[in-house]
Symmetry: C2
Subunit: 227 residues, 2 copies
Protein backbone atom coordinates (compact mmCIF):
# COMPACT_ATOMS: atom_id res chain seq x y z
CA UNK A 1 0.00 0.00 0.00
CA UNK A 2 1.46 3.35 -1.00
CA UNK A 3 2.42 5.68 1.80
CA UNK A 4 1.79 9.40 2.31
CA UNK A 5 3.26 11.74 4.92
CA UNK A 6 0.48 13.97 6.26
CA UNK A 7 1.25 17.17 8.16
CA UNK A 8 -1.12 17.13 11.11
CA UNK A 9 -1.12 20.14 13.40
CA UNK A 10 -4.11 19.15 15.45
CA UNK A 11 -6.26 21.83 13.82
CA UNK A 12 -9.27 21.48 11.59
CA UNK A 13 -7.65 22.00 8.20
CA UNK A 14 -5.00 19.34 8.60
CA UNK A 15 -7.58 16.91 10.00
CA UNK A 16 -9.70 17.28 6.86
CA UNK A 17 -6.53 16.97 4.79
CA UNK A 18 -5.75 13.66 6.51
CA UNK A 19 -9.18 12.34 5.56
CA UNK A 20 -8.48 13.23 1.94
CA UNK A 21 -5.19 11.30 2.05
CA UNK A 22 -6.97 8.26 3.50
CA UNK A 23 -9.71 8.47 0.85
CA UNK A 24 -7.03 8.77 -1.83
CA UNK A 25 -5.97 5.29 -0.77
CA UNK A 26 -2.80 6.02 1.17
CA UNK A 27 -1.41 4.42 4.25
CA UNK A 28 -0.57 7.32 6.57
CA UNK A 29 2.58 8.57 8.27
CA UNK A 30 1.55 11.53 10.44
CA UNK A 31 4.00 14.36 11.13
CA UNK A 32 3.46 16.94 13.85
CA UNK A 33 5.71 19.97 14.27
CA UNK A 34 5.93 21.92 17.51
CA UNK A 35 7.36 25.39 17.42
CA UNK A 36 7.03 26.62 20.96
CA UNK A 37 3.47 27.92 20.65
CA UNK A 38 1.44 28.50 23.82
CA UNK A 39 -1.05 25.73 23.13
CA UNK A 40 1.58 23.22 22.02
CA UNK A 41 0.59 20.46 24.44
CA UNK A 42 -3.09 20.77 23.57
CA UNK A 43 -2.37 20.61 19.84
CA UNK A 44 -0.18 17.55 20.35
CA UNK A 45 -3.07 15.91 22.18
CA UNK A 46 -5.36 16.63 19.22
CA UNK A 47 -2.72 15.22 16.88
CA UNK A 48 -2.67 11.99 18.86
CA UNK A 49 -6.47 11.88 19.23
CA UNK A 50 -6.96 12.23 15.48
CA UNK A 51 -4.26 9.61 14.80
CA UNK A 52 -5.95 7.25 17.28
CA UNK A 53 -9.31 7.86 15.60
CA UNK A 54 -7.92 6.60 12.29
CA UNK A 55 -5.53 4.04 13.82
CA UNK A 56 -2.49 5.82 12.42
CA UNK A 57 0.43 4.14 14.11
CA UNK A 58 3.29 5.80 12.25
CA UNK A 59 3.76 9.15 13.97
CA UNK A 60 6.62 11.60 14.21
CA UNK A 61 6.79 14.70 16.39
CA UNK A 62 9.53 17.21 15.63
CA UNK A 63 10.34 20.28 17.69
CA UNK A 64 11.51 23.38 15.85
CA UNK A 65 11.22 25.83 18.73
CA UNK A 66 14.91 26.67 18.46
CA UNK A 67 14.12 27.87 14.98
CA UNK A 68 11.02 29.75 16.11
CA UNK A 69 13.22 31.66 18.52
CA UNK A 70 14.78 33.36 15.51
CA UNK A 71 11.53 35.19 14.98
CA UNK A 72 11.14 36.33 18.55
CA UNK A 73 14.62 37.18 19.66
CA UNK A 74 16.10 38.61 16.51
CA UNK A 75 13.09 40.45 15.28
CA UNK A 76 14.06 43.98 14.55
CA UNK A 77 11.82 44.79 11.62
CA UNK A 78 8.80 46.67 12.91
CA UNK A 79 6.81 45.86 9.78
CA UNK A 80 6.75 42.19 10.75
CA UNK A 81 5.06 42.95 14.05
CA UNK A 82 2.42 45.01 12.25
CA UNK A 83 1.72 42.19 9.82
CA UNK A 84 1.26 39.86 12.76
CA UNK A 85 -1.11 42.08 14.72
CA UNK A 86 -4.32 40.73 13.18
CA UNK A 87 -3.34 37.26 14.38
CA UNK A 88 -3.59 38.34 18.01
CA UNK A 89 0.10 39.04 18.35
CA UNK A 90 0.05 39.13 22.16
CA UNK A 91 -0.66 35.40 22.17
CA UNK A 92 1.99 34.28 19.71
CA UNK A 93 5.05 36.27 20.74
CA UNK A 94 7.68 33.87 19.45
CA UNK A 95 5.75 31.46 17.30
CA UNK A 96 6.06 33.30 14.03
CA UNK A 97 8.57 31.53 11.84
CA UNK A 98 9.35 33.16 8.52
CA UNK A 99 9.50 30.57 5.73
CA UNK A 100 7.81 28.13 8.09
CA UNK A 101 6.20 25.93 5.47
CA UNK A 102 9.52 25.39 3.71
CA UNK A 103 11.05 24.22 6.98
CA UNK A 104 8.14 21.88 7.62
CA UNK A 105 8.15 20.54 4.07
CA UNK A 106 11.90 19.92 4.27
CA UNK A 107 11.37 17.79 7.39
CA UNK A 108 8.43 16.02 5.75
CA UNK A 109 10.52 15.31 2.66
CA UNK A 110 13.36 13.85 4.71
CA UNK A 111 10.89 11.50 6.35
CA UNK A 112 9.09 10.74 3.10
CA UNK A 113 12.37 9.81 1.46
CA UNK A 114 13.32 7.44 4.27
CA UNK A 115 9.86 5.84 4.18
CA UNK A 116 9.73 5.79 0.37
CA UNK A 117 6.43 7.66 0.60
CA UNK A 118 4.83 8.92 -2.60
CA UNK A 119 3.17 12.07 -1.36
CA UNK A 120 3.18 14.79 1.27
CA UNK A 121 -0.25 16.17 2.23
CA UNK A 122 -0.42 19.65 3.70
CA UNK A 123 -3.57 21.57 4.62
CA UNK A 124 -2.48 24.92 3.25
CA UNK A 125 -5.21 27.35 2.24
CA UNK A 126 -4.43 30.04 -0.30
CA UNK A 127 -7.10 32.34 1.14
CA UNK A 128 -5.05 32.47 4.37
CA UNK A 129 -1.92 33.49 2.49
CA UNK A 130 -2.08 37.24 3.08
CA UNK A 131 1.35 37.88 4.51
CA UNK A 132 2.23 34.21 4.21
CA UNK A 133 3.68 33.79 0.73
CA UNK A 134 4.52 30.17 1.55
CA UNK A 135 0.83 29.17 1.43
CA UNK A 136 0.35 29.62 -2.30
CA UNK A 137 0.11 26.98 -5.03
CA UNK A 138 3.11 28.30 -6.94
CA UNK A 139 5.23 27.98 -3.80
CA UNK A 140 4.28 24.32 -3.43
CA UNK A 141 4.97 23.64 -7.13
CA UNK A 142 8.41 25.22 -6.75
CA UNK A 143 9.11 23.13 -3.66
CA UNK A 144 8.07 20.01 -5.53
CA UNK A 145 10.78 20.86 -8.03
CA UNK A 146 13.34 21.13 -5.22
CA UNK A 147 12.23 17.71 -4.00
CA UNK A 148 12.66 16.26 -7.48
CA UNK A 149 16.20 17.66 -7.73
CA UNK A 150 17.28 17.12 -4.12
CA UNK A 151 16.19 13.56 -3.44
CA UNK A 152 17.41 10.29 -4.87
CA UNK A 153 16.70 9.75 -8.55
CA UNK A 154 13.72 7.52 -9.16
CA UNK A 155 11.66 8.74 -6.21
CA UNK A 156 8.68 10.92 -6.99
CA UNK A 157 7.26 12.72 -3.98
CA UNK A 158 4.28 14.91 -4.78
CA UNK A 159 2.99 17.71 -2.57
CA UNK A 160 -0.79 17.47 -2.29
CA UNK A 161 -2.87 20.41 -1.03
CA UNK A 162 -6.52 19.31 -1.10
CA UNK A 163 -7.81 22.47 0.64
CA UNK A 164 -5.73 25.02 -1.23
CA UNK A 165 -8.67 26.67 -3.01
CA UNK A 166 -11.27 26.29 -0.24
CA UNK A 167 -12.78 28.85 2.10
CA UNK A 168 -13.18 28.04 5.81
CA UNK A 169 -16.90 27.47 5.13
CA UNK A 170 -16.06 24.93 2.45
CA UNK A 171 -13.52 23.19 4.69
CA UNK A 172 -16.14 22.79 7.42
CA UNK A 173 -18.72 21.51 4.91
CA UNK A 174 -16.13 19.16 3.41
CA UNK A 175 -15.08 17.88 6.82
CA UNK A 176 -18.68 17.25 7.89
CA UNK A 177 -19.42 15.44 4.63
CA UNK A 178 -16.31 13.26 5.01
CA UNK A 179 -17.22 12.53 8.63
CA UNK A 180 -13.90 14.02 9.81
CA UNK A 181 -13.52 13.97 13.63
CA UNK A 182 -13.65 17.76 13.97
CA UNK A 183 -14.63 17.33 17.64
CA UNK A 184 -11.07 16.13 18.28
CA UNK A 185 -9.33 19.11 16.68
CA UNK A 186 -8.01 22.23 18.39
CA UNK A 187 -7.77 25.73 16.94
CA UNK A 188 -7.66 28.18 19.86
CA UNK A 189 -4.41 30.17 20.15
CA UNK A 190 -5.14 31.23 23.72
CA UNK A 191 -6.49 28.39 25.84
CA UNK A 192 -5.81 24.70 26.23
CA UNK A 193 -8.92 23.67 28.20
CA UNK A 194 -11.95 25.46 26.75
CA UNK A 195 -11.52 27.38 23.50
CA UNK A 196 -11.89 31.13 24.05
CA UNK A 197 -14.04 31.82 21.00
CA UNK A 198 -12.55 35.26 20.53
CA UNK A 199 -8.95 34.88 19.35
CA UNK A 200 -8.49 35.17 15.60
CA UNK A 201 -8.15 31.42 15.15
CA UNK A 202 -11.38 30.73 17.07
CA UNK A 203 -13.12 33.51 15.16
CA UNK A 204 -12.13 32.06 11.79
CA UNK A 205 -13.23 28.61 12.84
CA UNK A 206 -16.55 29.71 14.32
CA UNK A 207 -17.32 31.83 11.26
CA UNK A 208 -16.62 28.81 9.07
CA UNK A 209 -19.09 26.68 11.01
CA UNK A 210 -21.68 29.46 11.15
CA UNK A 211 -21.45 30.06 7.39
CA UNK A 212 -21.66 26.33 6.74
CA UNK A 213 -24.81 26.23 8.86
CA UNK A 214 -23.56 23.49 11.15
CA UNK A 215 -22.71 23.61 14.87
CA UNK A 216 -19.06 23.46 15.95
CA UNK A 217 -18.88 20.32 18.14
CA UNK A 218 -16.28 21.71 20.58
CA UNK A 219 -17.01 23.90 23.61
CA UNK A 220 -16.28 27.63 23.79
CA UNK A 221 -16.16 30.18 26.58
CA UNK A 222 -18.02 32.53 24.25
CA UNK A 223 -19.61 32.01 20.86
CA UNK A 224 -19.92 35.42 19.24
CA UNK A 225 -21.66 35.60 15.86
CA UNK A 226 -19.07 36.10 13.15
CA UNK A 227 -21.40 35.95 10.12
Amino acid sequence: MALAVVLLSGGMDSCVTLVHAIRDGYEIAALHVNYGQLTQARELQSFNDVCDHYSVGRRLVVDISHLAAIGGSSLTDVRIRVDEAHLDATDVPSSYVPFRNANILAIATSWAEVLAAEAIYIGAVEEDSSGYPDCRSEFFRAFENVIRLGTKPGGHIRIVTPLIAMSKREIVADGVELNAPLHLTWSCYRNSDVACGTCDSCALRLRGFQQAGTPDPISYQQRPLYL
Copy 2:
Protein backbone atom coordinates in the same frame (compact mmCIF):
# COMPACT_ATOMS: atom_id res chain seq x y z
CA MET B 1 26.55 47.13 5.24
CA ALA B 2 24.73 44.28 3.52
CA LEU B 3 24.39 41.07 5.46
CA ALA B 4 24.96 37.45 4.46
CA VAL B 5 24.09 34.28 6.36
CA VAL B 6 27.00 31.84 6.10
CA LEU B 7 26.59 28.15 6.87
CA LEU B 8 29.62 27.27 8.96
CA SER B 9 30.05 23.64 9.96
CA GLY B 10 33.51 24.00 11.43
CA GLY B 11 35.04 22.16 8.48
CA MET B 12 37.43 23.40 5.83
CA ASP B 13 34.98 24.02 2.99
CA SER B 14 32.65 26.24 4.96
CA CYS B 15 35.60 28.15 6.43
CA VAL B 16 36.85 28.99 2.94
CA THR B 17 33.27 29.89 1.96
CA LEU B 18 33.11 32.33 4.87
CA VAL B 19 36.25 34.05 3.63
CA HIS B 20 34.61 34.47 0.22
CA ALA B 21 31.57 36.09 1.82
CA ILE B 22 33.78 38.49 3.75
CA ARG B 23 35.76 39.37 0.61
CA ASP B 24 32.49 39.90 -1.25
CA GLY B 25 31.88 42.73 1.20
CA TYR B 26 29.27 41.21 3.47
CA GLU B 27 28.77 41.56 7.17
CA ILE B 28 28.41 37.99 8.45
CA ALA B 29 25.71 36.08 10.33
CA ALA B 30 27.13 32.60 10.99
CA LEU B 31 24.79 29.62 11.22
CA HIS B 32 25.87 26.26 12.65
CA VAL B 33 23.67 23.19 12.51
CA ASN B 34 24.17 20.20 14.81
CA TYR B 35 22.61 16.92 13.86
CA GLY B 36 23.76 14.56 16.57
CA GLN B 37 27.06 13.61 14.95
CA LEU B 38 29.79 12.04 17.10
CA THR B 39 32.16 14.99 16.82
CA GLN B 40 29.45 17.59 17.35
CA ALA B 41 31.14 19.38 20.26
CA ARG B 42 34.47 19.55 18.44
CA GLU B 43 32.85 21.00 15.31
CA LEU B 44 30.99 23.57 17.39
CA GLN B 45 34.33 24.59 18.89
CA SER B 46 35.77 25.07 15.41
CA PHE B 47 32.69 27.08 14.44
CA ASN B 48 33.28 29.40 17.37
CA ASP B 49 37.05 29.56 16.80
CA VAL B 50 36.58 30.57 13.17
CA CYS B 51 33.92 33.13 14.14
CA ASP B 52 36.28 34.55 16.78
CA HIS B 53 39.08 34.73 14.22
CA TYR B 54 36.99 37.01 12.02
CA SER B 55 35.15 38.74 14.90
CA VAL B 56 31.79 37.44 13.77
CA GLY B 57 29.45 38.29 16.62
CA ARG B 58 26.15 37.26 15.06
CA ARG B 59 25.98 33.49 15.56
CA LEU B 60 23.14 30.99 15.63
CA VAL B 61 23.38 27.31 16.56
CA VAL B 62 20.43 25.12 15.65
CA ASP B 63 20.03 21.49 16.65
CA ILE B 64 18.28 19.18 14.19
CA SER B 65 19.19 15.89 15.84
CA HIS B 66 15.50 15.02 16.21
CA LEU B 67 15.37 15.17 12.47
CA ALA B 68 18.53 13.16 12.05
CA ALA B 69 16.93 10.42 14.12
CA ILE B 70 14.59 9.83 11.19
CA GLY B 71 17.50 8.46 9.25
CA GLY B 72 18.72 6.16 11.98
CA SER B 73 15.60 4.80 13.55
CA SER B 74 13.33 4.50 10.58
CA LEU B 75 15.87 3.33 8.09
CA THR B 76 14.66 0.20 6.46
CA ASP B 77 16.10 0.58 2.99
CA VAL B 78 19.23 -1.53 2.76
CA ARG B 79 20.46 0.44 -0.25
CA ILE B 80 20.93 3.53 1.89
CA ARG B 81 23.31 1.73 4.22
CA VAL B 82 25.34 0.56 1.25
CA ASP B 83 25.54 4.08 -0.13
CA GLU B 84 26.84 5.26 3.22
CA ALA B 85 29.50 2.60 3.63
CA HIS B 86 32.27 4.56 1.93
CA LEU B 87 31.75 7.35 4.45
CA ASP B 88 32.83 5.08 7.29
CA ALA B 89 29.29 4.17 8.25
CA THR B 90 30.24 2.80 11.67
CA ASP B 91 31.09 6.32 12.76
CA VAL B 92 27.96 8.09 11.58
CA PRO B 93 25.17 5.77 12.63
CA SER B 94 22.39 8.32 12.87
CA SER B 95 23.86 11.39 11.23
CA TYR B 96 22.65 10.76 7.72
CA VAL B 97 19.77 13.08 6.96
CA PRO B 98 18.11 12.69 3.60
CA PHE B 99 17.38 16.08 2.03
CA ARG B 100 19.72 17.62 4.59
CA ASN B 101 20.73 20.67 2.59
CA ALA B 102 17.10 21.64 2.03
CA ASN B 103 16.49 21.50 5.77
CA ILE B 104 19.57 23.60 6.45
CA LEU B 105 18.74 26.11 3.72
CA ALA B 106 15.19 26.45 5.04
CA ILE B 107 16.58 27.37 8.47
CA ALA B 108 19.09 29.74 6.89
CA THR B 109 16.35 31.40 4.86
CA SER B 110 14.17 31.91 7.95
CA TRP B 111 17.06 33.64 9.64
CA ALA B 112 18.04 35.58 6.53
CA GLU B 113 14.49 36.88 6.18
CA VAL B 114 14.38 38.06 9.79
CA LEU B 115 17.79 39.75 9.42
CA ALA B 116 16.96 41.13 5.95
CA ALA B 117 20.12 39.45 4.69
CA GLU B 118 20.81 39.48 0.95
CA ALA B 119 22.59 36.18 0.56
CA ILE B 120 23.12 32.71 1.98
CA TYR B 121 26.60 31.24 1.50
CA ILE B 122 26.98 27.48 1.55
CA GLY B 123 30.16 25.51 0.93
CA ALA B 124 28.61 22.80 -1.21
CA VAL B 125 30.89 21.00 -3.65
CA GLU B 126 29.39 19.36 -6.69
CA GLU B 127 32.22 16.82 -6.86
CA ASP B 128 31.03 15.46 -3.50
CA SER B 129 27.50 15.02 -4.76
CA SER B 130 27.61 11.35 -5.67
CA GLY B 131 24.63 10.06 -3.75
CA TYR B 132 23.87 13.53 -2.44
CA PRO B 133 21.64 15.10 -5.07
CA ASP B 134 21.18 18.16 -2.85
CA CYS B 135 24.77 19.31 -3.53
CA ARG B 136 24.28 20.25 -7.18
CA SER B 137 23.94 23.67 -8.77
CA GLU B 138 20.51 22.98 -10.21
CA PHE B 139 19.26 22.06 -6.73
CA PHE B 140 20.43 25.40 -5.35
CA ARG B 141 18.86 27.33 -8.26
CA ALA B 142 15.56 25.55 -7.63
CA PHE B 143 15.76 26.37 -3.93
CA GLU B 144 16.43 30.01 -4.78
CA ASN B 145 13.15 29.96 -6.66
CA VAL B 146 11.38 28.59 -3.58
CA ILE B 147 12.90 31.43 -1.56
CA ARG B 148 11.68 33.97 -4.08
CA LEU B 149 8.14 32.61 -3.91
CA GLY B 150 8.03 31.78 -0.20
CA THR B 151 9.42 34.92 1.40
CA LYS B 152 8.03 38.42 1.56
CA PRO B 153 7.81 40.27 -1.74
CA GLY B 154 10.64 42.71 -2.22
CA GLY B 155 13.31 40.61 -0.53
CA HIS B 156 15.90 38.98 -2.72
CA ILE B 157 17.95 36.31 -1.02
CA ARG B 158 20.55 34.69 -3.25
CA ILE B 159 22.20 31.34 -2.57
CA VAL B 160 25.95 31.63 -3.16
CA THR B 161 28.13 28.54 -3.58
CA PRO B 162 31.70 29.75 -4.17
CA LEU B 163 33.22 26.25 -4.03
CA ILE B 164 30.64 24.43 -6.09
CA ALA B 165 32.97 23.64 -9.01
CA MET B 166 36.18 23.14 -7.02
CA SER B 167 38.10 19.99 -6.17
CA LYS B 168 39.46 19.46 -2.65
CA ARG B 169 42.89 20.40 -3.98
CA GLU B 170 41.55 23.69 -5.30
CA ILE B 171 39.72 24.41 -2.04
CA VAL B 172 42.97 23.94 -0.09
CA ALA B 173 44.88 26.14 -2.55
CA ASP B 174 42.13 28.75 -2.45
CA GLY B 175 42.02 28.71 1.36
CA VAL B 176 45.78 29.06 1.64
CA GLU B 177 45.78 31.96 -0.85
CA LEU B 178 42.96 33.72 1.04
CA ASN B 179 44.77 33.15 4.32
CA ALA B 180 41.80 31.21 5.70
CA PRO B 181 42.38 29.90 9.25
CA LEU B 182 42.42 26.25 8.20
CA HIS B 183 44.31 25.39 11.40
CA LEU B 184 41.08 26.13 13.30
CA THR B 185 38.87 23.82 11.26
CA TRP B 186 37.86 20.24 12.03
CA SER B 187 37.11 17.46 9.56
CA CYS B 188 37.60 14.14 11.35
CA TYR B 189 34.46 12.03 11.75
CA ARG B 190 36.00 9.82 14.40
CA ASN B 191 37.97 11.80 16.97
CA SER B 192 37.57 15.09 18.79
CA ASP B 193 41.11 15.50 20.16
CA VAL B 194 43.63 14.47 17.47
CA ALA B 195 42.31 13.79 13.97
CA CYS B 196 42.63 10.11 13.06
CA GLY B 197 43.91 10.62 9.53
CA THR B 198 42.19 7.50 8.27
CA CYS B 199 38.44 8.11 8.23
CA ASP B 200 37.04 9.14 4.88
CA SER B 201 36.77 12.78 5.85
CA CYS B 202 40.40 12.90 7.04
CA ALA B 203 41.47 11.06 3.89
CA LEU B 204 39.73 13.55 1.60
CA ARG B 205 41.22 16.46 3.49
CA LEU B 206 44.76 15.06 3.61
CA ARG B 207 44.64 14.18 -0.08
CA GLY B 208 43.56 17.75 -0.85
CA PHE B 209 46.54 19.17 1.04
CA GLN B 210 48.94 16.64 -0.45
CA GLN B 211 47.76 17.37 -3.98
CA ALA B 212 47.98 21.12 -3.33
CA GLY B 213 51.56 20.59 -2.15
CA THR B 214 51.05 22.32 1.19
CA PRO B 215 51.14 20.85 4.72
CA ASP B 216 47.88 20.46 6.65
CA PRO B 217 48.39 22.61 9.77
CA ILE B 218 46.42 20.34 12.13
CA SER B 219 47.77 17.26 13.92
CA TYR B 220 46.98 13.68 12.95
CA GLN B 221 47.44 10.31 14.61
CA GLN B 222 48.54 9.01 11.21
CA ARG B 223 49.25 10.77 7.95
CA PRO B 224 48.99 8.16 5.20
CA LEU B 225 49.82 9.25 1.69
CA TYR B 226 46.63 9.60 -0.30
CA LEU B 227 48.11 10.86 -3.54
